[in-house]
């Protein structure tokens, strides 16, 4: 003969529910945490009111006891309480819907690859649009607002020069100090001049400027465009027959193209000056000797390289900034996320480009 589980034969436990079946009572009542061990009766003869926590407790216990094959009975409940329980009982089907559908490992990889492909295509389309409207778009006079170019040059160039020069000076000082300690050991302090000069002109000047500008102008470009997307301003431009890339991005593209070389050269000069200050003060090298060594080793092609790098870095920063801005679909959280991503991606792309330049030049 089959054994019957004793829990089905046990007498019902009767729980007297309070007058106000509310969250405070539910928090103190531990039965929700106990495993069902037998039939249960909830005596609602004194219960006059119930809040969300009370309702949730009854639904939860009802479901749990039904799953265990045990009865849960509501005794002496008023018709009002029963109606409330009936009115607010959620659709059980809804609860089964997972927030995220889990997919297998390999389909996940496939999905990621396809998403990455779409992103790359989108990014390259943005680059092509930016370069197209930045060149041929200039000949469409009506679509290019000249006033805004000066405004963007002021914001992106003039207002950036202080921070760029300050940081370059400090980097120049730090580099020169560290190099000077080592060079001095071997009596080679005089090589500080060409080292700082070539290092700043060929590499650190444009690279440092680009990193600072990516953080400043790249993020502001992303935030501005993203805010326009969220505020439907981009949609408004499209419906007025205006290309958003041409209208919003091209002025920034040209502002950066024109100001970045000046920023980079300024950063370079100030950085070299930082090194010069260290050489004069710490190493005791004469000013004329430092400048003479500098001019002997730095050639015009290095300056041209500085300018070319700065322009390419400028395009990369604006491209990445615009791409992340237009990617936003909605919400402040996404604006913040894409702005951060734009800075990180911008710096990464700039450093990769610099590495590629190292092989070219």
């Amino acid at each position: 003969m089959a054994k019957i589980d004793q829990k089905y034969l046990a007498p019902a436990t009767v729980i007297e529910m309070p007058e106000h079946l509310d969250r405070g009572w539910v928090e103190r009542f531990s039965i929700a945490r106990e495993r069902p061990s037998g039939p249960m009766v909830l005596d609602l003869s004194h219960t006059r009111g119930v809040d969300s926590a009370g309702l949730a407790l009854v639904y939860y216990l009802n479901r749990r006891y039904a799953k265990a094959g045990l009865s849960l009975t509501l005794r002496n409940a008023s018709s009002a309480i029963l109606q409330t329980l009936k009115n607010w009982q959620p659709d059980e089907e809804n609860k089964k819907t997972p927030r995220q559908i889990s997919i297998g490992f390999f389909p996940g990889i496939g999905g990621s690859v396809l998403n990455a492909k779409d992103l790359v295509v989108e990014a390259l389309s943005m680059l092509a649009e930016m370069l197209f409207w930045g060149s041929f778009g200039l000949f469409k006079k009506r679509d290019f607002r000249r006033g805004v170019l000066v405004e963007q040059m002021f914001f992106m160039g003039y207002q950036s020069i202080g921070i760029v020069c300050l940081l370059s000076f400090l980097i120049g000082v730090v580099l020169a100090l560290q190099a000077a300690i080592q060079l001095n050991r071997y009596g080679a302090g005089i090589f500080l001049a060409p080292m700082i000069g070539i290092g700043m002109i060929k590499e650190l000047g444009p690279l440092l400027t680009a990193i600072i500008i990516s953080g400043r102008n790249g993020s502001s470009t992303t935030a501005e465009i993203a805010t326009m997307v969220v505020g439907e301003e981009i949609d408004a431009l499209r419906t007025m027959g205006l290309n958003p890339v041409q209208f919003v991005v091209v002025p920034k593209f040209w502002a950066m193209t024109l100001t970045m070389p000046f920023l980079s050269l300024s950063a370079t000069v100030v950085g070299v000056f930082g090194g010069y200050a260290v050489a004069i003060v710490y190493l005791g090298i004469s000013s004329s000797l430092f400048i003479g060594e500098l001019l002997r080793n730095v050639v015009l092609i290095d300056v041209v390289e500085n300018i070319i790098k700065s322009v390419v870095f400028a395009w990369l920063i604006i491209w990445i900034g615009a791409f992340h801005g237009f990617k936003v679909k909605g919400g402040a959280e996404e604006v913040g996320r894409e702005t951060t991503a734009s800075v990180v991606t911008g710096i990464f792309i700039v450093i990769v480009a610099d590495a590629i330049f190292s092989f070219i030049f």
């Binding site: 003869s45 002496n76 018709s79 029963l82 009115n87 959620p90 659709d91 439907e232 499209r238 419906t239």
Partner: protein, 269 residues
């Protein structure tokens, strides 16, 4: 399903389906708007009203179906046909969508600068005229952020009207406005229809506005057209979702009360 039949179609939508990924938002939507009328597209939140409007103006690409404005098919947002058709269309977005970097006057002047060869002085005159038409004098040099919500809506409406379009789309024009300002905007739309013969398509769920301005209504539910007919006929329906909408009646919610778990009950008090 009741429909309105008119002679000159300004907007035609045939068998439209729009999806966001796997989620179908609009399915098998047909619509025909004739000139001049105020057609209101209404429905509960999430039924696809704004999606329909954005598809009609070419901002969203449908998965299936056709949209035509003035007989021209609207495909991609940047296609020449779409750009040409949209020159005859004004759009009032939900939050105005005025460009924050331009003054109110510059915002309104923008379509004139882009699509006409009028002189700057004449453009200025037209902008001042439009500001007068929307009862918004004296704000030419202000920035959009310096205006109240209602004023921004009016300024955006002035921009939508600056090319004297025969067709205007309005996305939730009364959203976020107090009843008095909303009523003022409704009056303005009525005056535009009566005075300038403009066809206006309004997406809204504000009952007071619908009752005030609608000639014909399209009721959407879960992405499908449930009713397309005159306001008078919509108001006399005695049952169904349209009736419930106008009489502010409905279930507690989509899923409340649909639970199937039974309660064992003894001695109901």
């Amino acid at each position: 399903m009741e429909t309105v039949s008119n002679s000159v179609a300004v907007v035609e939508v045939e068998n439209l389906r729009v999806s966001y990924g796997p989620h179908i938002v609009l399915d098998s939507v047909d619509l025909r708007v004739a000139a001049p009328e105020i057609r209101v597209i209404l429905g509960t939140s999430g039924c696809g009203k704004t999606t329909l409007l954005k598809t009609m103006v070419g901002l969203l690409r449908p998965e299936r179906g056709v949209v035509r404005l003035f007989g021209k098919e609207i495909r991609e947002p940047d296609s020449p046909d779409t750009v040409e058709a949209l020159k005859h269309v004004g759009i009032l977005f939900q939050n105005g969508a005025l460009l924050g970097s331009l003054t109110v006057g510059e915002n309104i002047a923008l379509p004139l600068q882009m699509h006409t060869s009028l002189s700057k002085k004449l453009i200025r005159e037209i902008v001042e005229l439009k500001l007068t038409q929307v009862d918004l004098p004296g704000v030419y040099s202000l920035l959009p952020q310096e205006l109240s919500g209602g004023m921004r809506k009016r300024a955006a409406l002035a921009r939508a009207l600056v090319l004297d379009p025969p067709l205007v789309f309005c996305d939730e024009p009364s959203a976020g406005l107090d009843p008095v300002t909303a009523a003022g905007l409704d009056d303005l739309l009525l005056r535009l229809r009566e005075g300038l013969g403009i066809t206006i398509v309004v997406v809204t769920h504000e009952l007071a506005s619908i009752r005030a301005i609608a000639d014909n209504v399209v009721f959407l539910q879960k992405g499908a057209v449930l009713f397309d007919g005159s306001m008078a006929k919509a108001m006399v329906l005695e049952s169904g979702p349209v009736h419930d909408f106008f009489n502010r009646r409905g279930p507690l919610g989509e899923t409340a009360g649909r639970g199937t778990l039974e309660f064992a009950v003894e001695n109901i008090a």
